[in-house]
Symmetry: C2
Subunit: 197 residues, 2 copies
């Protein structure tokens, strides 16, 4: 029969683990965080984790996929939009900051993907490249249509994404700036700075 949604489905349980793991990885890094740490934050034993995941690496990989899929969904949404490159980029930055801070709790591309074995690493890189290309395409469009200053879209995109990806390194939830304020300020600076005078 169809399984009941009793207290927590297996899929929900996996997600819980991913959130705990992501928090631990972010605090201590992949190698610094222990499997036991991830488990006991959920009041389960570490052995139990292996019922849901093959090993630690697979947990890290799932974290990356989870984040990247959200980013790619965002990208698809933006691409479907018919707004100007400027508006698209603004929306992207705003949503990205919101996603990283409020949804993923500072856990996007910061989690060292190099810790993955070559096969899984490559799969992460493919998705990340897909996102990068999307951003670059918007920048290129703005340059072509003449609303953005000339420049290398690749380097500009790296700078934009670097600024945003770095946020978790200094963000303090107790601090003065809310995620919305940060998003606005970053969009103003990073997108506004691209516009031709």
């Amino acid at each position: 029969m169809a399984p009941m949604a009793k207290s927590a489905t297996a899929s929900e349980r996996r997600t819980e683990i991913l959130k705990s793991a992501a928090a631990a990885f972010r605090r201590r890094g992949y190698h610094g965080a222990s499997v036991d740490e991830i488990a006991s934050a959920l009041e389960m034993t570490k052995g139990n984790l292996y019922y849901y995941f093959k090993n630690k690496e697979e947990i890290l990989f799932a974290c990356h996929e989870y984040s990247l899929d959200m980013l790619l969904a965002l990208m698809a949404e933006v691409q479907a939009d018919t707004a100007s490159p400027e508006a698209k980029l603004r929306k992207l930055v705003l949503a990205f900051v919101h996603l990283i801070l409020d949804e993923l709790h500072g856990t996007a591309l910061t989690l060292d993907p190099e810790a993955l074995s070559p096969v899984l690493f490559k799969r992460v890189i493919v998705k990340r490249d897909q996102f990068d290309q999307g951003v670059r395409a918007i920048i290129q469009l703005g340059i072509d249509e003449g609303s953005f200053k000339a420049g290398d879209p690749k380097l500009i995109e790296f700078a934009m994404m670097g600024a945003v990806n770095w946020i978790p390194k200094w963000f303090d939830p107790e601090g003065p700036a809310t995620s919305n304020q940060i998003g606005d300020a970053f969009a103003d600076y990073l997108v506004g700075g691209l516009l031709k005078p």
Copy 2:
């Protein structure tokens, strides 16, 4: 008597170790890199490292101090300059990129300082804050004197530094972009974007 500069002084040896350690930390992270890995890259045994450093953590700390001292020296130089805020910022970004890529080989603030014990961590933070404040002061000056757009200097500084600190994550020495091209492009975008139209 004064020690001879035979093949390598003790101080040079320490620096060699720091360079090897920085490379290893950058590749695998602090916890991911083993002491043995650092040592054997220099064709020495791991036990020998403990003649030069008390423990692994002290090596990480020394890496940070080394980088931060160079950054602070750069900041002092820029501050002594009498140029415009725009010129100062440009110089700072250019030199920062050059420093990170050519001198430190992608090893500035990327090496997880959170791995340090509270005491050493605090000492790193103090220096990093000192640098941050310096950058913010320049931005504030530009805003006050009216050459820069209005904005929160703190958030703008975070964005700038994030963009620059992220460079090692994607930089490929074999790639098409040289450190000078990257420096120029980043200065154009990050500083140029601040200017009032």
